[in-house]
Amino acid sequence: MTNLSPAFKESLEPLLLAIADDELIMGHRHSEWTGWAPHIEEDIAFSSIAQDEIGHANLFYTLLSGVIDKSPDEIALARQSSEYRHAIICERPNRDWAYTLARHFLYDTAERIRLESLRASAYKPLADVADKLLREERYHELHAEAWFSRLSSGPMEGRHELTVALSEALSDAIGLFEIIDSEQVALEYSILPESNEDLLQKFLSDASERIESYGLPFQLSPSESEGEFLATSSGEMIEGSDEQAAAPPAIAEAEGKWQVTGEFAGMGGRRGKHSPEFDELWDDLTKTYREEPTATW
């Protein structure tokens, strides 16, 4: 790796870190179902998916370890929580099976779109890994699709649970395509063949089409898209009471182009801004490693 120019390296690092951290944190959450899933066959299936994601994280950390001269475990486990660059959706607690499935569907859709694009990366080792992983990821998507098909055509309650969870997860999924540090340089070098902005367009078209094919609505949860309105003493409705109030998030399609506006709670992960739940996850993730950082395990 020594023959890579400093600028090339500098743009490679945040990209690999973002992808690897996504995989690690998603795999970590998935593995929290091991032993607890609501169905024994699913317990087994989800454990497999978790292992795959952690294995993928390991592959990306290994690529990165050639660039920054640290071991994959050191990169994965020896950082402070604010140094992780995964999207916030990955760290959200599992909550229940409906939310888990909704996130699983959106995450694996996003991952496919990203990997398909990275196959054209000018950084050959990354293109090779992307190609290899796509084949495995197909099984994850098939798994999510089987559940979507079952729940969307099954009894009312399951369909309702999934619909609500999906609208909540969708808002956070936008954060998977947040701009990455040095993205412009990565684009110039074609390490990143397409911008995150372009990938987000592809993601929204792909996900909306497939979700609607199950007869499920592709929409943000109402509480988010409507924002908060307060009544004044005169009876007039004003938007929020705080002047700094964030604009409500919205996703809309017009003439084949998706408009994503407003403030999404799931943004910031790529800049190291995480939710309080991530502190707990980080504490678990790094606990044993931190006890004896020089030990081999």
């Binding site: 970590h28 593995s31 032993g35 609501p38 169905h39 087994i44 952690i54 044993t288 081999t296």
Partner: protein
Amino acid sequence: MTYEDKLAEFQTRIDAGEKVETNDWMPDDYRLATLKFIEMHANSEVMGALPEREWIPRAPSLRRKMSLTAKVQDEVGHGQLLYRVAEDLGKTREAMFEDLIHGRTKFHNVFHYPTEHWGDVAIIGWLIDGAALVTQRALLDCSYAPYARVMKRICSEEQLHLRHGEDITLELANGTERQRWMFQDGLDRWWEPIMHFYGPPSNPDKDVLLKYRVKSKSNEELRQEFLDHYVPRILDLGFELPDNGLHHDSESGQWIHGEIDWDPFWKVVKGEGPRTEARLSKRRAVWDHHRWVREALSESIWKAA
């Protein structure tokens, strides 16, 4: 043929070492005792996943995180296989799960205890899985054929788990002071539950499972086998066993344990172990919250039929 004749013929088959298949005639006490035994084994596999899985999120390396997930996944898979064998004896998996989470049926004593750190993962993987393998090997010759067949597969997977546990143990034994402390501390806490693992001394003449050759070894025989195999290995690694009465008997060549306090064991049997209620209540919460998942699954099964 009278019932007594059938019974006599059945016992003759058992004594001759023949195997019983699901659709063969069997006396009620055979069916019930075998079902209860396999059901408890299945329960223990799924409950046994819980103490270990607590360390998946906190595994010290990516490799260990993946291998521990795979290992716990295998245990849940054993539960699935065993529930299927038990179902054929006349009780649905749903009913078995309901009984388990409401504390009406049992699971193995060692899975009622808490875990404190990575040292516990080594103890579970090496010593508790090792203890289980002693029992499971003795079941390969079980008179109930479907159970014996599943045990064959389980034993070969458990052999791999044992290596995983041994590997983690050796890393700790050859590691830093803190790592060695982790294993010793785990040993101090787990040794008594491990001594309880095979149950108290029993009267083989009164054991219906032995009479019907569902089991072939008594509790005491199994415990002795475990001690003779593991005590020298643990001592070789330089760890101490928390049993002042433990000694080697040069005449028999056996390791003799000191007095065992059975009170904590009986508390666990009554469902009052240190983590019994916490683990069962979380299972109940997941089970109750996800009724819609089971309904959706049974609905689609119904549609496909």
